[in-house]
Amino acid sequence: MGEKRRHRAGQVSSGTRREVLQFAGSVALGGVLPSLAVRPAAATPATMQSAIAAVIGDAKLNAGRVKLEIPPLVENGNTVACAVVVESPMSASDYVKAIHVFNEKNPQPNVISVKLGPRAGRAAIATRIRLSDTQTVTAIAEMSDGSFWSHAVDVVITLGACLEDPL
């Protein structure tokens, strides 16, 4: 896609005509709307795939060995418990080198990238992440033998009914 896009200050970069129209529509609603009336360019399933490709190259992505533990229904997308556990002996010759988590609808596809080694004893991490919308989250483990394994989970985000103005 060799085309260059010129960005004026305040203009959001967006790839498709539909996104440009959505952007224009939300601005037209009026300047009094607080906060997220101006939507930044969002990740898409395609952006997530290219972020994954940046990590795995053209290696094959195997299903299995990785368990992404994330609640299927979430009360607030601001803070979502997210754990990844990978089956591995974590020995000097057979261990998990890295764990990467990706999302498909936040403004950015990367969530966290973690480096491990045999000293970990257990290939497991837990953290709390932000999810902007109902979407699929993908965890990828990179093994010491160069293989990649993944697990994807669909998460539904709900939103509290009563929202406040900024303090």
């Binding site: 300047g31 607080p34 906060s35 997220l36 009336a37 101006v38 930044p40 601001n78 803070t79 979502v80 754990a83 999302n103 936040n106 403004p107 950015q108 990367n110 969530v111 966290i112 990238s113 973690v114 480096k115 491990l116 080694g117 000293r119 970990a120 004893g121 257990r122 497991a124 991490i125 837990a126 953290t127 709390r128 992440i129 932000r130 999810l131 900024p166």
Partner: protein
């Protein structure tokens, strides 16, 4: 002001796989929000977290804006020897914080 909270078993057995829980105070401003006047709020996040065990790196993480405020990270290590676990967080605008915990391994 307290910035970080670490939870790890202080007296593990040698060779035991121990859980390390870390929690640090930080707003993790994503850089994708706008104020009520429409001005962009610049990104201000922790970008890197590194844990060392007697100076040797045992865990590191690259954090993105999708990590929730007050980052909470749990991971594991083998209790090899007594000594010091050191944790270091670095981020945008020259942010740096560190915390140390001593463990005594039987």
């Amino acid at each position: 002001m307290a910035r970080a909270l670490i939870k790890v078993s202080p007296n593990p057995r040698r060779g035991e796989v121990i859980e390390i829980k870390t929690l640090i105070s930080h707003e993790m401003e994503t850089g994708f929000r706008h104020s009520t006047t429409g001005a962009a709020i610049p990104r201000d996040i922790i970008t890197t977290f590194v844990a060392t065990y007697n100076g040797e790196e045992i865990f590191s993480a690259q954090l993105f804006p999708a990590i929730a405020a007050n980052p909470f990270i749990t991971f594991y290590t083998i209790a090899k020897e007594s000594g010091t676990l050191e944790f270091r967080w670095t981020g945008d605008n020259g942010y740096a914080a560190s915390e140390q915990v001593k463990i005594a391994v039987e």
